[in-house]
Amino acid sequence: MVDRIPILKMGKYLLLSIQVDMHDQLALDLQEDLTEQIVRHRAKGVLIDISSLEIVDSFIGRMLSHIANVSRILDAKVIVVGMQPAVAITLVELGLSLEGIATALNIEKGMRWLENSVNEDEIAGEPESDEDTDAPSETGN
């Protein structure tokens, strides 16, 4: 019996891989753990790998939406990767299209997306924080 799903920290990102059948308590614990970890590590992105998840119900679907919404408020981007065809079909049939959650085919592509979108944010935010100091160094390189 697994009582917690491990959440791994990798640089600015948090990685979590769901490899067991989710039951309700596990999902609730996960939500709690994740929000805590995002705040503690000031994570910029969360990657959720569900490639081993074969059974899904409306509760899990809602949980994913919930995690995504909470993370967005905490300024972390969420991407769900590796969804199985059967799971995707089930979610669609349940009417849960996971609006607003980014998805990718595998961890590699998901990671690339996270890096791109986080970098974009930082570049956009940079001129405000360090104004002129950056400009000369860039021309120098």
Partner: protein, 280 residues
């Protein structure tokens, strides 16, 4: 007892009935392009034997177990004929042409005074047999149609890879929920196998789009999106575009392109692939 009488009568005149039955069949026309004389003879002989056997057990009721072997034989025969391409009336004629020789036989038995009863019995019997053979024939035909439908489903939903990371699903023919389900499954499976980012659904060959079809397409697109692949719909004809708008179907943020070529160009652009022509 007329049933046992009839059984006795048939047994005594088996050869004669068979001969007359065969000539009656010949008169009605045998499809020699589908079956040969020997087979017709064997089939007729076997069936007649089975009839006599069933009658000999004094079974008046057609649902009695005594008729089981006869029914089984008839079923096998009709099903094969359905597969071989006989028409329904040809299959029924095989049985119905048994009436004439039997009536003739009874007519000649002047020693019996219950000939009307016997004729009625034969009539009932042959009619039942005829109905059964037609029923089995239909069942055989339906099985053939079902098989063809299944193989058509498999044939008509190919998912092809156009480029590294680009899949295309050329849909041809009417879409129903059954078919869209299969399209959805095979597309999603292929997305996983090839790790494709973009799937182009080409509906040039789809004659009509109603709300159901649009709904199914949207479901497929949403499922693909959940897995992390993007879908482009191409080949929407003017009438279909008008229908979609008229029906008020919300396509949302689904990208649509007029032709497969345009959709392919867009997907190459998204994958940062640039095609360069050779200068001559």
């Amino acid at each position: 007892m007329s049933v046992s009488q009839l059984a006795e009568l048939l047994k005594q005149n088996e050869e004669q009935i068979l001969d007359k039955w065969l000539s009656a069949q010949r008169a009605a026309g045998i499809r020699f392009d589908l079956i040969d004389e020997r087979n017709v003879q064997d089939n007729s002989r076997d069936l007649l034997k089975a009839v006599i056997m069933a009658l000999a057990q004094d079974a008046d009721d057609f649902d009695a177990p005594a008729w089981k072997p006869l029914k089984a034989q008839l079923e096998r025969l009709s099903r094969t004929q359905a597969r071989q391409g006989f028409s329904a009336s040809e299959t029924a004629t095989f049985v119905f042409s048994l009436k004439e020789p039997l009536f003739e036989l009874i007519q000649n038995q002047s020693q019996y005074d219950n000939r009307v009863d016997l004729v009625w019995l034969v009539n009932k019997l042959v009619d039942k047999l005829g109905l059964f053979s037609v029923e089995y024939y239909m069942a055989g035909r339906e099985a053939v149609i079902r098989e063809q439908q299944e193989s058509l489903l498999e044939l008509s939903t190919p998912v092809v890879q156009l480029w590294d990371g680009v899949l295309a699903v050329p849909l041809i023919g009417a879409l129903d929920s059954n078919r869209t389900q299969i399209v959805m499954e095979s597309l999603l499976q292929k997305i996983v196998e090839t790790e494709s980012d973009i799937a182009i659904i080409d509906i040039t060959g789809v004659p009509t789009v109603d709300t159901m079809v649009a709904q199914h397409l949207l479901k497929t697109i949403t499922a693909a999106k959940l897995m992390g692949a993007r879908c482009i719909i191409s080949g929407i004809r003017p009438q279909i575009a008008a229908t979609i708008v008229h029906l008020g179907v919300e396509l949302g943020d689904v990208v649509t392109k007029s032709s497969l070529a345009d959709a392919f160009k867009l997907s190459l652009k998204e994958l940062n692939v640039r095609l360069v022509g050779n200068a001559r």
